[in-house]
Symmetry: C2
Subunit: 248 residues, 2 copies
């Protein structure tokens, strides 16, 4: 068995998330079907991040194993030839036997995009979250910065989270403002389920003057999901990049 | 009756073009249905350019008439509230009684967008025309420039064109190159049916070394549609802007 790693982009709009489901189209299921169609082999494609329904990816990473070697560039072209246009494999290469797209990841970056102007261009519909009322981006910047460091993110995890340890280290948590376009960028050693969207839902409350920027630290300390804001809409969220140790 | 003019953007992908058809969704039909839903009045929305199926618009202009005055901003918001996200009204205002979106237009700009790299991002799928083989952009630039001026465009008009006079004045005809992104911009006092797409199909042949840049002038002079290239795909084409006399 030879292992391959791939980097892919997708628009999440028409998929029930990354992870395979029996009766609904998913990104994982679609990629697995493409590999089977091209190679004749039924494979399991393991993704670094299990993005939710509607979430987009600019740089998802995944791995799978094949019996016998293939020419990576040829396989990549064949897969892109059968995949729908809303999923593209940007890179495909042989990987070390021990490589694991999910377990080996040391850092991930997500981006959440807002449009804070009166009318959303059709060309951005489904790709950014539209907020019509004027957001206080300075308050949101201040709140975002308070997340940097190692914290217990229980208050921002999905209530049903079954992960034992809710501590995560945030390397970057920053709101970027370009006119009507706002972009929240966050990098961490890992993310709990719904963590980014729950943080963004809270930042939106802060930007809408429903909460103070200093609430972020209080919510973190409380460890109670009920204190954080609602889960922000999926269609503003992008899985941007996954980092691995240089040796891998 | 009070006349209103509107500027709109749309993604053409899910529409059978601008013009109303009985059994297929069109942009005109969708906007007319929205006006009827909001005002209760059955109106005819007259567009400046009758874009084909799949063609996009960044700045289509249209007009319609209503019985009795309405507050334009309120009507615009109400219409955007019921229109699907792939059509947006950017501006709506009362217009002089004599204003006619199509007949009064003095200049129009179209843009045709290519992606000339190996892998098309899902975020550009359906929005640019993907050409994998390397195009000779210098040859295309040279050919594009030869169209500026007043010419008989019979050779670039749809064979079924019923317009009497095929003379049009081209103010701008330019290929812009930004890395893998190519953009052909053309401004004229008017366009014949399929004219931009037939020009682009010919430019693509020139960029693919199937023809010389100097062929453009020969094709124009021939006045024969069979001498020009094929009609380029609709999904790379954008109606960008319409100009009206300052007085209107």
């Amino acid at each position: 068995m030879i292992k391959y790693q791939l980097k892919l982009q997708y628009i999440g709009t028409h998929y029930s998330g990354w992870q395979s489901q029996k009766s609904r189209p998913t990104v994982q299921g679609t990629v697995q079907a493409a590999v089977q169609r091209v190679t004749g082999q039924a494979v399991s494609v393991v993704g670094a991040g299990r993005t939710d329904a509607g979430v987009h990816a600019l740089g998802q990473v995944a791995h799978f194993r094949l019996q016998g070697p293939v020419e990576p560039l040829r396989l990549q072209r064949a897969l892109n030839g059968v995949l729908p246009g809303d999923i593209r494999i940007l890179r495909l290469a042989a990987a070390p036997p021990a490589f694991h797209a999910q377990k080996d990841a040391v850092k991930k970056r997500y981006s959440y995009r807002f449009y804070n102007g009166p009318i959303l261009s059709p060309f951005l519909a489904g790709r950014v979250y539209h907020v019509v009322h004027r957001l206080d981006s300075e308050a949101m910047c201040e709140a975002a910065a308070a997340l940097v460091g190692r914290h217990d993110f229980t208050a921002f995890a999905a209530a049903a989270s079954k992960v034992r340890d809710h501590h995560r280290t945030i390397f970057l948590s920053q709101l970027q403002v370009h006119g009507y376009h706002l972009r929240y960028e966050i990098e961490a050693d890992g993310f709990l389920h719904h963590m980014v969207r729950n943080i963004v839902g809270t930042l939106l409350q802060i930007g809408s003057a429903k909460r103070a920027p200093s609430d972020i630290s209080k919510i973190l300390l409380s460890g109670d999901r009920r204190n954080a804001g609602p889960t922000a809409a999926a269609h503003g969220l992008y899985l941007v990049r996954i980092w691995y140790p240089v040796s891998k």
